[in-house]
């Protein structure tokens, strides 16, 4: 036990003292934020401006189709019918409406230069159907389009808020926020699991190629060496999380200092009296309302549960995979390419978990999300996508997932130890999965 402690200390101290540790501690959150911001940016701003030419022989649509709010789709009206020349000169898409049958479905051709995005296609279809609908209201009920529009505006006056529990237990659910937090936690576990897993593998490979493994193994058991390394690197990961939490608290408290005092006061008023509206006596700025909304949304989440689940699933997932990474590292020789091909079957389920995560945050109750968060191969990532959503994960399910994860990492550690014990002293043989299976079934 004392010796494992020495190994843990060495693994921990040499890594934490390294400059790359500090660097990655500050850069990784930045990279994740940039990654999320980047993917959001690309998904919203990715579309180019689309000009749609409309030749309307029926006169129903003329000047009634509305451009998209961000001007990414614009309609122009023309009498031209030469599709090819129109598409090559002016428009990205062209619609020619010859006549419409009111009673049966109509198929109208949308000629395009190149395929439109699904969003834009849907937008154009909805616009046309809306205009048609308006026309029917006009014809059948003699209603003005302007009256229809204002009616529709008022009809959208209901804001639905999910909430759970009763009385003082009652809490609002901000599904956007919970899925964002779930996604962030899942992605963090995904990235750190890969990073620290590879570190374990590289550490083991280093010991093997440096030929120090045998020296150490003559004083400690191979299992102790493997476990010491895994725990040591895991502790580095926890230290990193701790630093991130401190960093986050630091940044948010610094940010609070820079919020003007009068806004803070308004925020306080809002918090004490949530239903407060702007009127003559109290002016409430947009900023104050935003801050109040965010803080109340954040405080509605079950943070102790989220944080403790996060730590548990990070540790569980890390332990589950780290020993597998160690086993691969132990049978690889100097060739890094060999490591790549051997490590692929281990990284695949992790990547698969990430894919399930993107589904799980959309619908935390789907059966894919359920199974993904129960099976230990993906549960650390997927479960974190579900936990922030209130009520999505019953206690029994959470307990089962945790139990299976613990059983899973005990199993993988046991399995890996069998491979590691021999692999670490084996030189000259090319590492392969066949070899690993042979070592697993070899008698002691």
């Amino acid at each position: 036990m004392n010796k494992i402690w020495l190994i843990i200390q060495r693994e921990y101290i040499t890594r934490v003292r390294n400059k790359t540790f500090l660097l990655s501690t500050f850069l990784l959150p930045l990279v994740i934020v940039l990654f999320i911001a980047g993917s959001v940016f690309i998904s919203t701003k990715g579309s180019d401006k689309i000009l749609v030419g409309v030749n309307d022989e029926t006169g129903i649509f003329k000047n009634k189709l509305l451009d998209k709010d961000d001007k990414s789709v614009e309609f122009f009206y023309t009498n031209d019918t030469a599709v090819t020349s129109l598409l090559s000169n002016r428009f990205d898409a062209f619609i020619h409406v010859r006549d419409l049958n009111k009673n049966i479905g109509n198929q109208i051709s949308l000629d395009v230069k190149k395929q439109l995005s699904r969003d834009n296609e849907e937008y154009i279809r909805d616009q046309m159907n809306l205009v048609l609908e308006n026309k029917m209201f006009e014809d059948n009920f003699k209603m003005q389009v302007s009256a229809l529009d204002s009616m529709r505006m008022h009809a959208k006056n209901i804001d639905l808020v999910q909430s759970k529990g009763e009385g003082s237990e009652k809490q609002k659910i901000n599904s956007q926020l919970t899925s964002a937090i779930g996604f962030f936690c899942g992605i963090l576990i995904y990235i750190t699991m890969l990073i620290y897993g590879t570190q374990v593998m590289r550490g083991v490979m280093e010991e093997k190629t440096n030929r120090i493994a045998e020296v150490i193994i003559s004083s400690v058991k191979p299992f102790q060496l493997m476990l010491g390394k895994i725990i040591g690197i895991g502790a580095v990961g926890l230290t990193q999380f701790l630093l991130w939490i401190i960093l986050l608290i630091g940044i948010s408290s610094v940010a609070q200092i820079f919020i003007p005092a009068d806004i803070m006061q308004q925020v306080n008023q809002l918090q004490n009296n949530p239903g407060l509206q702007s009127n003559n006596t109290i002016q409430i700025s947009e900023a104050a309302r935003n801050i109040a909304d965010t803080t109340s949304a954040l405080s509605s989440l079950n943070w102790p549960l989220i944080i403790s689940c996060f730590l548990f699933f990070f540790l569980g997932g890390y332990l589950f995979y780290a020993s597998l990474f160690a086993a691969v590292g132990s049978i690889v020789n100097e060739d890094p390419q060999e490591a790549q091909s051997l490590v692929l079957p281990i990284t695949m389920p992790i990547i698969f978990g990430f894919i399930i995560l993107t589904q799980a945050i959309r619908d935390p109750n789907s059966s894919l999300a359920f199974w993904g968060s129960i099976i230990p191969f993906t549960s650390p990532i997927v479960m974190m996508g579900r936990v922030p959503a209130p009520g999505a994960v019953p206690w029994g399910e959470l307990g089962l997932s945790m139990l299976l994860l613990v059983a899973g990492f005990l199993f993988t550690t046991w399995l890996a130890a069998k491979i590691y014990r021999i692999g670490i002293l084996m030189y000259g043989k090319k590492g392969s999965w066949k070899q690993m299976f042979k070592l697993i079934f070899q008698k002691t």
Binding site: L6, T14, V215
Partner: protein, 308 residues
């Protein structure tokens, strides 16, 4: 009482009988040579003695008790042939780490390291990294870390590879010193001249089996071919005899091999009778190198085989 006893040790791998029924004993304070060609099973044997591998069958006794890898680690110092150090770690820290893994306390390890670093003139290395060391230097460091915890049994696999003669002598002297202090040393190598110089007792293994066991002197006598060197001035015409056969002949020196059951006295008598002056008469014993080659050569190298 022997320090180490191996009885009928066997270790089979999937395609090799790596060690196939080997027994030997090592007396305390002796320097024991473990010889054998590449792939003979030496490393596997050493790994079993150090507790890295468990034998499939057989008994290992250390100090008269059954060998217990977990608790006997402190009594053994092992310098494997495939040895290395953490490249990025500072030398002092590394030595301290390895010493503490052997069970030394921090203060104890520091004291001993100080002593050895001074003795080997390595004080200035303490804060350097291993990657700054030459091969010979790291070899010295490895030797220090192997013997630092004062093990009773020291196992050195090719300890001189990569060392220049000066450094090799420093290590060699230290090996003698340690043996004098009562340490038992197992010494594995291919370099036969070192074996003759250093070892008291040797065994030769090939293909997992022990094929030779004894002291250096005994073995040489066992393999002597009754060849003598005679310094005598004589011509070929005087050497017509059935007592011996001349192997080499130069004007002042003869190398002869005794024939049938003639004795050395017969030879001397032969020369005296011819009234030739004998300046010297010595027996030529085979070198361990010759014996090694004779025993190993011609035996086909190990092939992979199926083990049940």
């Amino acid at each position: 009482m022997n320090l180490l006893e191996l009885q009928n040790i066997k270790k089979y791998f999937a395609t090799q009988k790596a060690v196939d029924d080997i027994s030997f004993e090592i007396a305390p304070g002796s320097i024991f040579g473990l010889l054998g060609p590449n792939g003979a099973g030496k490393t596997t044997l050493l790994r079993m003695i150090t507790g890295i591998f468990y034998p499939d069958s057989g008994i290992i006794n250390l100090n008269g008790k059954k060998f217990d890898p977990t608790n006997d680690v402190g009594t053994i110092g092992y310098m494997p042939e495939e040895r290395g150090l953490y490249k990025k770690m500072k030398i002092g820290e590394q030595a301290l780490y390895l010493a503490r893994l052997k069970g030394l306390s921090r203060a104890d390890a520091m004291d001993k390291l100080k002593y050895w670093f001074e003795k080997f003139e390595m004080q200035s290395w303490w804060n350097k990294k291993v990657e700054d060391l030459s091969k010979g230097m790291s070899q010295k460091l490895q030797f220090v870390t192997t013997i630092l915890h004062e093990p009773k049994l020291i196992i050195l696999d090719e300890p001189f590879s990569g060392l220049d003669p000066v450094n090799a002598n420093i290590i060699k002297d230290e090996i003698f010193n340690l043996a004098k202090k009562g340490c038992t040393i197992i010494f594995s190598t291919h370099r036969m001249e070192q074996v003759e110089e250093i070892c008291d007792h040797i065994i030769l293994v090939n293909k997992g089996k022990k094929i030779l066991d004894g002291t250096v002197g005994e073995i040489k006598h066992q393999f002597k071919e009754n060849i003598y060197q005679v310094n005598v001035a004589t011509g070929a015409e005087n050497l017509m005899t059935h007592i011996f056969e001349v192997i080499k002949h130069s004007p002042q020196q003869l190398e002869i091999k005794l024939q049938h059951d003639s004795t050395t006295n017969d030879v001397l008598k032969f020369f005296i009778d011819q009234n030739l002056m004998i300046h010297s008469f010595t027996e030529i014993l085979p070198s361990i190198n010759d014996i090694f080659i004779k025993l190993v050569e011609g035996i086909p190298a190990r092939q992979f085989q199926k083990i049940n």
